[in-house]
Symmetry: C2
Subunit: 299 residues, 2 copies
Amino acid sequence: MGNIREIAKLAGVSVATVSRVLNHYPYVKEEKRKAVWEAIEKLNYTRNINAVHLSRGKTSIIGIIIPYVNHPYFSTITEGIAAEALRNGYHLLLFQTNYDIKKEIDALEMLKMKQVDGIIICSRTVDWERIEAYSQYGPIVLCEDVKGRNLSSVSIDHYYAFLMGMNYLIKKGHRKIGYCIGRITGTNSKARQAAYQEALKQINERPRPEWIFDQCLYIEDGERVVASLLRMKERPTALLVSSDQVAAGIITFGKNKGLKIPENLAVLSFDNHPISEALNITTIELPLSVMGKKAFHMI
Amino acid sequence: MGNIREIAKLAGVSVATVSRVLNHYPYVKEEKRKAVWEAIEKLNYTRNINAVHLSRGKTSIIGIIIPYVNHPYFSTITEGIAAEALRNGYHLLLFQTNYDIKKEIDALEMLKMKQVDGIIICSRTVDWERIEAYSQYGPIVLCEDVKGRNLSSVSIDHYYAFLMGMNYLIKKGHRKIGYCIGRITGTNSKARQAAYQEALKQINERPRPEWIFDQCLYIEDGERVVASLLRMKERPTALLVSSDQVAAGIITFGKNKGLKIPENLAVLSFDNHPISEALNITTIELPLSVMGKKAFHMI
DNA sequence: GTGAAAGCGCTAACAC
DNA sequence: GTGTTAGCGCTTTCAC
């Protein structure tokens, strides 16, 4: 392997010239350039990228903070970021946090340590103040509405999407409506809650806390929701579900338990992942992959 | 921020001592250690990790080569790797390749450049020889059977799993059996094909190339399969499907088109992802997350 | 226990 | 166009 100095010696030039060749600097005499490439071939040389990073003070790596790689919502965003990053010569360092605040901070530390040039936060537990504190070390982009905070973000208008969903159900004649989300905290969830309340207010219904289900992420969570519903004396006639996966679970387990869908329970969900198509779930599409793309470009 | 020298000056010690404190080297006098930590706090200092990487000659990052982040099969493996990596103080650099051989080689180059300490290849297009050539630069682990090659690997016995599936269907009385896989090439697929042929041989049936569907990755591919089936004069009575997603698609689109399942077409699939539970698909579980974990430890 | 100093391998300002 | 050289910020002998 060797280093740049050996290449220089073998090619009969200076290390600076080797560096120039390596970085496609235009003004190098053709014969020297050739000599350098030959030496590189001969010694099977490759730059030590850590030295490059140190010297340049940047890495062309961006970090991505994500709670679960394995959930379609997040893997779709990741997909978008990954594709775009690669097209632009960037690499992706993956921080899977499980919403563990310590892991989130670890990731943020990587920005300070210059391990990454920037960070995209797909979803988080850590508070905004903390993030703002880290943004002095490099660009940070959130995938949520930051409400005029001094932070970059790209976001889907979950308030609007949820309101749309509510209105759709209301127009279908529903008045007793509940919903399912991943976490009760989180900006996106608060937007959804606000939309829920707003829509109910307009039809003079009061929100029903017992019809709000959180921790709904995967298909299996649908089972829990169905079980809860069956135990209630008064049930919602419709459910707005923030993930296709969960909707699929509710529909399937519901049917198993004798719930007629949509007669007993209408289900409207989000994301438009393939699973909804398979199950003929009515769903509202969210442009997640595009969001990932945009997030990358903001950085 | 500053650097180690400033810390040394402020704490009244040498840079070596600062380094010792930073690396939790035991033999440093308590008072100096304290002075160093105070200086660190005061200057809000963090190590420049690139300098550490360069100096140490390693990065504690491992690369993961994966065709699509967004497919459950791969995101489950990634999940396993990510969880285990984090627990061991490693980070993950994600290379999403779309099976583009150039991107795979780029990723392998990162090993040579010392960007990563090792690489896990979840699925690949590039040939074994190439990979062997790169393994001089660091550990590489494949997630497939490497057939006695001089390469590390952790793999699921897809031959066995497929054979099990075939026998299950045969026991149910099926003789006209087809299958669906992601790619026709690839070691895992070849193992499946071998199992398919073997099982048919035992019941004196010949393989039917027209009943083999490749490029089956997502739910929507199920639609294509169903369409093909409907065009055939002679159809299989059962299908072994290498992904729950695709099975879900086949079942749903099949039902839409009036196919009775399982009466007209039995479907058996793999992976045991939640979607199969939702759709009551019979499925054979594959320990993907565990495989990811093991892959990490081999490195 | 601690410090001086020699790297790690590259980039880039500067001089020619 | 090209070479010299001073960093980049840290780790790690080696000597005391």
